[in-house]
């Protein structure tokens, strides 16, 4: 009896300690905040469809029935069967063969970037793409090293399939993902001459985080992954028993003749892993400064739910911290956020998405090619004098005039420099044909950006509310900016001017 009273007391205490606002209905600002943090440039209609929902219902709506496959058909070559194409003859390949191989991979890589940007734009579940991108930046591989676009595509498919699934499943899949096997040199990891690259990043960047393992743990774990390789012809994962080290290893205080999966199991069992991933999700969705008590609480749930990703996201998206005033507008938009978000917000449907992937790359986020194994550092590192001007120029160009440019045909869009025909005479007296082609490629990309159409009056017509100059400004500001604008402007009568002023305000770079 006394025990149950104590328990009841505890429970009621727990109820009090629960986020008090979890069941409060979402205001317009709350809904915009939720959708811009979990998607790309929510429209007025998107936002209104969430206003009035409870925090819990809104989180459930975002998390229920998320797709595991992309809507947008991938480039044709992704479904080609048969062996992977390498440069013929490998090391002995002629210069032409190598060049042709490189050009092909470059072209395919650009097509992949365009495909993903398109999917981000049209998906019914922007959160799925956001999480796919999050995991791309967690389990980093780059086409710069992997080279084979096919393998980058397959990795992206795996990331999406598990993006809102189970972290443990995803970790096991990534450890044997062919692009990862190449990227972190697992294929070079052999008994007797272990390559520690994968084992080190596994502990430092994928699971525990720095400071929770020793150099010896890395060395021992590397031995457990010896023999994890890929079959060159199919590009599939393969285990090579002859180069696997079957000896006894000690990892994080546990000893046995472990194989790679058993090491993953040890890492998954550590609380540091759940906390490390939770902290990273916090920085992605909530603020740059994780609250350690909340991280521990949410990470515990993550582990209790056996690393179910939806559970941890639900906990984050219904937390007090997520909706708190001091965490509004404190995150910097990534280049993909800015580019895709702007296109989505203003309903811009490009003739070809590649120039927009290019624009994001110019701002420092080249999809499928993070800078190193740590991924894009994000946060303030997104903004320097070079990237800030690239962002402003992009916005300036998009909103320079109504209906700017004529829509470009998708098939007229060159996807590589090689697709630019050689000129008989190079323009500008450029020194050689290759340079001239590069120049014309960049111009084609710029024309691609100019191909989108924006009709500011039509856009304003879709916004609900009073239709005078001040009313229009206020509504647009509330929709486009996470916090009050930094620059004060006289309310304008010209719709395009209002939009320009808001997107060029520094606050537009925040979410």
């Amino acid at each position: 009896m006394r025990i149950s009273i104590a328990l009841a007391a505890l429970l009621s205490l727990a109820a009090v300690a629960q986020p008090a606002r979890a069941s409060a209905p979402l205001s317009y600002d709350d809904a915009r905040h939720l959708l811009n943090r979990t998607g790309f440039g929510a429209t007025d209609a998107d936002i209104r469809s969430y206003v009035g929902m409870t925090h819990e219902d809104a989180a459930r709506r975002l998390l229920d029935g998320t797709p595991t496959r992309a809507n947008t058909p991938p480039p044709d070559w992704t479904s080609a069967s048969g062996p992977l194409r390498y440069p013929q003859g490998g090391e002995k390949a002629s210069a032409e063969e190598r060049k042709a191989f490189q050009q092909e991979q470059l072209r395919k890589g650009l097509e992949l970037r365009g495909w993903w940007v398109e999917e981000m734009l049209v998906t019914p579940s922007p959160l799925t793409e956001r999480m796919t991108l999050f995991w791309h930046n967690h389990f980093v591989s780059s086409q710069q090293k992997v080279r084979l676009a096919e393998l980058m595509y397959r990795q992206n498919v795996t990331l999406r399939a598990n993006a809102l699934g189970n972290f443990s499943t995803l970790l096991y899949a990534m450890a044997r993902d062919p692009a990862m096997v190449i990227y972190l040199d697992s294929a070079q990891n052999r008994k007797g001459t272990p390559n520690e690259n994968f084992a080190r990043e596994l502990m430092e960047l994928f699971t525990l985080g720095e400071g929770h393992y020793t150099e010896q743990d890395v060395k021992e774990a590397a031995r457990a992954f010896t023999g994890w390789s890929i079959d060159r012809a199919s590009g599939n994962f393969t285990f090579r028993p002859f180069i696997h080290d079957y000896g006894v290893k000690t990892v994080l205080g546990k000893t046995g003749n472990f194989d790679g999966d058993q090491v993953l199991e040890i890492l998954i069992s550590r609380p540091e892993t759940a906390e490390f991933v939770t902290r990273k999700l916090w920085r992605e969705f909530v603020s740059p400064d994780p609250q350690e008590r909340e991280v521990k609480r949410i990470a515990a749930r993550f582990r209790e739910a056996h690393y179910d990703i939806k559970s941890v996201l639900y906990a984050i998206l219904t937390s007090d911290a997520f909706y708190s005033t001091e965490n509004r507008g404190v995150l910097l938009k990534s280049p993909v956020d800015l580019v895709v978000g702007t296109m989505h917000q203003f309903d811009m449907r490009p003739g070809a998405p590649v120039p927009f992937a290019f624009a994001a790359a110019g701002m420092g986020q080249n999809l499928f090619s993070p800078p190193n194994v740590k991924g894009w550092p994000g946060g303030e590192a997104w903004i320097n004098a070079s990237t800030l001007l690239a962002r402003k120029q992009f916005l300036d160009r998009l909103f320079r005039a109504d209906d700017a440019g004529t829509r470009m045909q998708a098939d007229a869009m060159p996807t590589t420099i090689a697709a630019i025909p050689k000129a008989v005479t190079a323009p500008n007296g450029a020194q050689d044909d290759e340079k001239a082609r590069q120049l014309r490629f960049m111009r084609a990309m710029e024309r691609g950006l100019a191909s989108v159409q924006f009709d500011s009056s039509a856009w304003f017509a879709h916004l609900d509310g009073p239709d005078d100059a001040a009313g229009r400004s206020a509504r647009a500001s509330r929709l486009l900016l996470a916090i009050a604008p930094q620059t004060a402007h006289e309310p304008s009568d010209v719709p395009l001017t209002i939009v320009r002023q808001l997107v060029l305000d520094p606050v537009y770079q925040l979410k």
Partner: protein
Amino acid sequence: MNRREFVKLSCTAPLCAITPSLAWAVAPAGAEYRHLLVLIELKGGNDGLNTLVPYADPNYYALRPKLAVPRDQVVQLSDGVGLHPALAPLLPFWTRRELAILQGVGYPQPNLSHFRSIEIWDTASKSEEYLQDGWLTRSFAAAPTPPEFAADGVIVGSPDLGPLAGGGTRAIALTNTEQFLRQARLAVPEGQSHNKALQHILKVEADIVQAASQLNANYAFTTEFPQGPFGNAIKSACQVIANKAGVAVVRVTLSGFDTHSGQLATQARLLGELAAGIVALRSALDELSKWKDTLVVTYAEFGRRPKENLSNGTDHGTASVHFALGGRVTGGFYGEQPALDRLSGDGNPAYAIDFRSVYATVLDSWWGVSSTGPLGGRFKPLPLLRA
């Protein structure tokens, strides 16, 4: 508030001069940022062995049956080595003893990936260490440039900030000054904010505006700059240097050195562009009376494999030769020519000069700021500068 703003603020207060506890924040006495550094990146990994040619070494001709520079074409500098013929325009620098040749610049446990190795060079990290900030960024954080400078550094012709990447530094990237001034009109710094992310944007906007207010695009040089992208970059660099407010470092990039195939023609063209660019740079700096206060240093992610490949090219290598030039440089050889009879298992030479010693030369000897913090250790400067 970052350290620079702190310094600016605190120095407007009268206490600044007499409060010893603030002394850490100001550049150490003797910090000489009027000494200009010009970095030239040889992107792609220049082949050092055909840049400074060991024309008397039979191993060289054995490793390079097709690519070796014939002995009679080498611009001989000593009994053993000489310059690639395309670098002949640099001979006057050598004769005046204003050209230091740094042989075998590299680092332990070399990485053969372009991306990773240039990151190691840019951040001055150890081979297995990942650092966020560039080596110059860390140095400027520890010893700020004068606040009136147009910028800490200007990166010409490349969007990536390289050694100036990361937080806090006032780095500007531009292709030409005219275009930059046009773009900079989009930057309108509006006050301050308590929001950290917003404050960061406002600071970067202010940096852009400050640089734009000092830079000009129309200094009338009589120097004729070479045609082509590198010549244009040198010209833009000179426009930047001509600003009155000052800038500590300018980085230009010459791309295309990744010569896996058809190396002979490509490298000859690039080295020719490099030499012509340096000659023009010197001439323009003379017009500004700045050659005596300028140190030019080349760098690259790596050199190339001594043994040529089957495509008339060379693959990724390790240590390589680099140049330091300037009005106060003591010309001559530094380091050691790679021993071609003692290559590693993958066929690459060992390094003779740690690249961080080159950086220490810049920080300790050229600018008079401490290199140990920014470089994460003690590296001995090369004795290549005169007072």
